[in-house]
């Protein structure tokens, strides 16, 4: 029996993660954070105290058994760690990379009271990457339930909901308007933060669960939510379409040709591969000097993409101070290391015209922090007479989004006054059998919060359909016998189901 760990016996320093050198990495789109090596992972896993309070589990929006998977890592039972993980989260390689752990699990970690918290996100990522490398997938025995579930949007909310409903034995189809699935993970988050191969691997896992993906399908316009329930035979529908509709700057010059939303910049670069223009047809001319307005994660992504596309100078313009900056700390660090110039407490007043429809520069005003506002953050107020101009030729705005209007235009679903879908505490909408979650309900939030909403909606959907939430029995890994010509190791009974014509 090993000695009980105490705060003094565990490795005191948080294990750093190797990263591509900033000078090197701004020239490529390869992943910045390289992930733990085996030894690094083991040292970091030892830092978990296995405290009985487990605040991290409550800190996780999807409630991953964090001490459980870390314990298995310390036991060198890596597959076991993956099994614990996938009980609650089917997408560890994604969450390990993009969750704001510092405000979630790591923010409440007991070790963090005294030392730097356990790097839970990095350990989670290690498990996810290991599973992808080994080809592990946990496909539970799926009881054919006969329920058909339609999911609108293939982003994190839709993926999480699809996974849970497929595991509950439902026939799940995910509809995506773009030509590739993944939603914001695909079009928004750049490759150097979340490589496409990771998204592909996680989507393949869903496909192996039996989830079908239908791309190029704009729900609302090709068919409506009501049609899905009334004509197309879906027993329940989940809407996870995201927020979309970027907020405009609303200042003079914001329709100039050198002004675009971060969403547009990122979509052109990531999904449409504009960075490989002209091999790919979508263009994206980047400026020499790029000003990005806003300081959230999307803004950080836009800045770092601009650097990689060849911008010489990238400025971050944010009206509050660094303390109020909503981006993940790691993203701000990375952006700073890569040479982004931060202009805190600065607000744009106008985009300046170059006389040919393009951008010559920006006019900004200095701000200072006044009294706290509704969000609890100190309200920035302009400093009189502090207007100043600077040169730039591309302006990217990342100042938030409004509700996408398509579902509202095409269905009877009740919306709130800001245009987001109104739901009850179980994420049920005003139409029976239709649930919604993620940004289209809450407004812009994080990937993991969207996943949390997708899972919550799945629980409500199961209750509504009368599906018992059984514990899913994973068969032992060692069983390699075959039954009726079916390889049990695949743990997939889809073929039996496909052959059955009559429901018992």
């Amino acid at each position: 029996m090993p000695k009980k760990k105490t705060i003094r016996t565990i490795p005191q320093e948080r294990t750093p993660m190797r990263e591509q050198d900033p000078v090197q990495r701004v020239t490529n789109f390869a992943e910045v954070a390289c992930g733990y090596r085996l030894e690094e992972m083991q040292i970091e896993a030892e830092r978990c105290l296995m405290c009985p309070e487990q605040p991290c589990v409550d800190g996780c929006p999807v409630g991953i058994d964090i001490p459980g998977f870390i314990h298995r890592l310390t036991e060198k039972d890596y597959r076991g760690a993956y099994d614990v993980m996938t009980d609650t989260n089917l997408l560890p390689a994604i969450c390990g990379r993009v969750c704001p752990q510092e405000t979630q699990c790591e923010g409440v970690c007991t070790v963090g009271d005294t030392l730097e918290p356990v790097a839970i996100g990095r350990l989670e990522r290690w498990v996810g990457d290991k599973a992808i490398a080994e080809g592990w997938v946990n496909i539970p025995y799926i009881e054919p339930g006969g329920f058909r579930i339609g999911i609108v949007g293939s982003g994190p909310a839709g993926m999480a909901c699809a996974a849970d409903m497929a595991k509950a034995g439902c026939d799940v189809t995910v509809f995506e308007a773009f030509h590739q699935p993944g939603g914001v993970l695909r079009y928004g988050i750049p490759d150097f933060r979340l490589p496409n191969e990771v998204i592909d691997a996680e989507i393949d896992n869903l496909r192996r669960l039996g989830v079908k993906f239908e791309c190029n399908t704009l729900v609302g316009r090709l068919f409506t939510i009501e049609q899905m329930i009334e004509e197309m035979g879906y027993d329940a529908v989940f809407i996870g379409t995201g927020a979309g509709y970027p907020s405009m700057l609303g200042i003079p010059g914001d329709s100039l040709n050198g002004v675009l939303s971060a969403n547009e910049l990122l979509t052109r670069c990531n999904l449409m591969r504009a960075r490989e223009f002209p091999s790919f047809d979508t263009p994206l001319p980047i400026g020499q000097r790029v000003a990005v307005i806003g300081a959230g994660n999307t803004a950080m992504d836009a800045m770092r993409v601009s650097l990689r596309l060849g911008a010489e100078k990238v400025y971050c313009i944010y009206r509050r101070s660094r303390t109020e900056c909503p981006a993940r700390i790691e993203e701000v660090h990375h952006a700073e290391e890569e040479g982004v110039e931060f202009h805190w407490l600065t607000n744009p007043v106008a985009v300046l015209d170059d006389g040919k429809g393009g951008v010559r520069g920006m006019r900004c005003v200095r701000m200072e922090l006044g009294e706290p506002d509704d969000s609890g953050r100190r309200r920035p107020v302009p400093v009189a007479g502090s207007e100043h101009d600077f040169e730039c030729d591309l302006v990217v705005f990342a100042i938030g989004t409004n509700a996408n209007p398509i579902i509202g235009q095409t269905s009877k679903l009740k919306l709130n006054k800001r245009g987001y879908i109104e739901v009850d505490e179980n994420l049920a909408t005003s139409v029976a059998g239709v649930f919604a979650g993620g940004d289209i309900v809450t407004g812009a939030a994080t990937v993991i919060e969207a996943m949390g909403a997708g899972r919550k909606a799945a629980r409500s959907m199961k209750a509504w359909l009368g599906i018992r939430d059984i514990h899913l029995p994973y068969t032992a890994r060692e069983s390699s016998n075959r039954l009726f010509g079916i390889d049990l190791r695949e743990r997939n009974f889809a073929r039996v189901r496909a052959g059955a014509t009559v429901q018992p």
Binding site: A177, F178, H179, Y187, C215, N216, T217, L218, R221, L222, F223, G242, G244, Y245, P246, M248, S255, N257, L260, S261, N263, E264, T267, R268, M272, R273, F277, P278, S279, F280, D281, T282, P283, P285, G357, N404, P405, I406, Q409
Partner: protein, 311 residues
Amino acid sequence: MNSGQLSRYEIVAREDFSDVTYLLECYHPLMAKAARPGQFVIVMLNEHGERIPLTIADYDRERGTITLVIQAVGKTTREMQQACRVGTSLHAIVGPMGIPSHFDDVDKVVCVGGGLGVAPIFPHARAFKERGAYVIGIVGFRTRELIFWEDKFRSWCDEFIICTDDGSAGMRGMVTEGIRQAMEKHADIDEVVAIGPPIMMKACAEVTRPRGIKTIVSLNPLMVDGTGMCGGCRVKLGDQVRFACVDGPDFDGHQVDFEDLMMRLKRFAEEEKMAMERWSENCRMRDEIHLASDVELSTLSALKSGRIETG
């Protein structure tokens, strides 16, 4: 037509109206069912392609097809002109996008189409007629040879005016001349719908503005997703900003800031030029290689057949 055999987004018919204008009829039964006049699709030719918005020119619910009429003006539309043969498939078609046009409560309407807009104005004319309106159709072409769908228009319009730049058919002049003529003859026009190049739609809006006739234009700015997510297609209406993809594509022509629209259409002018030049160069080289290899192939097959005969 055996629809069971058709693959997704397959081109089932094609018609070439001129050197630059061609029609593609694409198999997409769900879209054919859902499409309404005024809506558009976003198309990708191949997986390296860009996403381009194209107005739905017609749809056939029985055949399960939608019709696109395309002008080969840029790299993608020219590449499509070469690649899209009957039996081939597009990489992606998504839609129908945008808010469908309104046709009710109109007794007398003028439907104007020019250039790219001739085809998409047709379903408007038909929809108005089906709802019992008196429909005056006006279409503009450069010259007689470019005219298409004249019979289609005549069968749904109460009056039909063709305008040609050179006067080789119909009346000489721009479609605005046609509108003026219609306005002189009819004092009770409720609405004008104009689809075409921005400069034409602008001119139409200016003609009707003094009389205060409601004028609807269908805008076709640059787009990426077409779902309201990127804001690339934003247009100015007075002091308001709207996204053509989800708030349009139909807008009040008297409010649209056409200067802004035309400036924004030139956003990627340099890149478009570069892509065009690179593509033309590739085509030229490919043609040369083909020519060369055709010679080799014919020599080779001659040799082969010779050997078979002698062997």
